[in-house]
Symmetry: C2
Subunit: 365 residues, 2 copies
């Protein structure tokens, strides 16, 4: 980040016609985005694009969710038809939706006719991961290929003129992979990061937690954190057994959409464009990205805090403050889209608001 631009933004916030600090979290956000853009004020982050990365999970065979695996592909078709919540939110709040098949297990029912499949990027790396409780979910090459998908999607969306990127995901059983990744990259216990996902009962939750624990043990990712964070800054240090070999840990227990979202964050940061993270899937993917390149967090904004317990653990580790906290647990990018207007408003205020001098308003005595 550009320290001079950030300092200019902090200084301008202090001269704007309002009590200093009275915009709370949004003041810090505007400073972050000025630093990211390298200019003060930074551009208002619009237009905006959500990329919904879809993938399936071999661990579904372990009965971690009551939803059938084919729902992943069915929901992709729903996104393409404009019928999902992320479509409604994006239409209302001003974002485009791009669906990326990075690992869907079924052949997609994209409909018929001249517009069939429009809005879908076919970047399928493999038709779903392997079962992490039996073998690595991906090979290293597959994990890298999925990361590259995310990087190139970010690059292409920025090249198309977008100035805000938002993460989305779809993948039945993907909260299981997120729990395992979050445990691996933070050193937290499986029980602290495994949640009810789309809605499982208490018995299934115990079973799901055990599945996560077994997968971590199989891949040597259940050790206590090797050390305290190397540096003090939250999210900028290494912690958790996965941090020693991020690609290896990602391949062992992650999902193809998690890998792609990690790449998407890296791609956004490389383009110095803010990337608004959705919920627990994005949070765990951001842990991977931050382990690979800590500075990518300069571009990251936590859109919301999910009710999934692992998300709070990930956000704390990343040092990110969520903008929306409304007990959402849907995914798809819905929490990121809801945060978009808040991100845009924070920059708009920094750009437009008069200073005490310019407006002739008397300052505090």
């Amino acid at each position: 980040a550009d320290a001079a631009a950030a300092a200019q933004a902090r200084d301008r916030q202090a001269r704007m016609t309002k009590p200093t600090g009275s915009l709370g979290v949004l003041e810090d956000l505007s400073v972050q985005l000025a630093g990211l853009a390298g200019e003060c004020p930074p551009p208002v982050p619009e237009p905006a694009a959500v990329a919904v990365f879809a993938g399936d999970h071999g661990v579904h065979a372990q009965s971690v969710t009551p939803w059938p695996q084919e729902v992943t592909g069915q929901m992709v078709a729903n996104f393409l038809a404009g019928g999902a919540v992320v479509n409604a939110f994006a239409a209302q709040l001003g974002a485009s939706v791009t669906v990326v098949d990075v690992g869907v297990g079924t052949v997609l029912p994209v409909g018929e006719g001249p517009h069939a499949g429009e809005g879908l990027l076919d970047r399928n790396v493999r038709r779903g991961t392997r079962d992490m409780t039996e073998e690595p979910a991906m090979t290293r090459d597959e994990a890298l290929a999925a990361i590259e998908v995310g990087i190139t999607v970010a690059r292409d969306l920025v090249a198309a003129g977008n100035r805000a990127l938002l993460t989305g995901d779809m993948g039945i059983a993907n909260t299981t992979a997120s729990a395992a990744l979050t445990a691996a990259f933070t050193g937290a216990d499986a029980a602290a990061v495994t949640g009810a996902g789309t809605g499982v009962d208490a018995e299934t939750l115990r079973h799901k937690t055990d599945v996560v624990r077994r997968a971590l043990a199989l891949h040597g990712l259940d050790a206590a954190p090797a050390s305290a964070p190397v540096v003090d800054t939250p999210g900028r240090g290494l912690a958790g057994p996965g941090a020693a070999d991020p690609i290896g840990a990602l391949a062992a227990v992650g999902g193809l959409e998690h890998a792609a979202i990690a790449g998407f964050v890296l791609g956004a940061a490389a383009a110095r464009v803010p990337v608004v993270l959705d919920g627990v899937i994005a949070g765990s993917a951001a842990l991977v990205a931050a382990s690979l390149a800590p500075a990518c967090l300069d571009a990251a904004v936590a859109g919301h805090r999910s009710t999934e317990p692992g998300h709070g653990v990930a956000l704390a580790h990343l040092g990110l403050t969520p903008l929306v906290d409304l007990s959402l647990r849907l995914g798809e990018g819905t929490g990121a889209v809801l945060a978009l207007p808040l991100v845009q408003a924070s920059v708009r205020a920094l750009r437009d608001v008069a200073t005490f001098d310019s407006a002739g308003v008397t300052e505090k005595q």
Copy 2:
């Protein structure tokens, strides 16, 4: 509220292509707005209008704030010039801004030229309240006149086509009046509801709390709550010594903008249009409105939670869940405007999202 329309909305939320409950607070909000409109789905609440009610306060003489009183009028001029944060937020997020002088103490410097004063409604009831530590801040007639200003502004904004109303305020020292109102209508102690406002030091905060306490005592509003709430529903019961005579309590310790906002809430509810409340000023005004007509809360949405301690007390008493919680403490309507996209998105989802049946998505087993 229309129970049948609300039940239809709850049912539709359960059939939409997402796990039931996964939109958290926004599902409840869409149900509330369906009940308010009396139809499911309700209309998306747009266009939207912020009314910024401005007034001055006799209690300013008690040195409760480091800001000079003339800043109220200067900020009104800033609103009219489009230079304040509420203007920037409203421009970005799609709301108009109307400024209502209901009690500014100074003659307004509205500039010169053909557009001077454009966007300002001159509804001045009196040039600032009296000092509540010495006498009632308003007469009953003045309080009623200011309430009527709010009612008619709401009526006129709805007549002009607006389908969402947002509260805004400007008034140096108005957090002191809010603290006194909140104590009077909830029975809370002065210390629990008095905060730093625009930023006072610890010594001034102690003094400000004492000012609130003295005013409550002078007007007989410091008694313990006469009784437990009459009914169980939060916000629908009476509590606090002010509830016995809401107009009297408002006149004793309130502000002209507080009275107008109470009327604005009543006017919105009468038109069955949602009213998004800003922060601590609106929260205390909503206590007055709810004491006069509890059903008005059917139309009320808590835009955000301010850092002012009295705001949390008021929201809890009203039974309202804030949509945004980002450590804001600016007022002007800024927190309400930030919440507007969330309100609109909740309704848009209820209107647009496909059901499991219609989208051909398999349900949870």
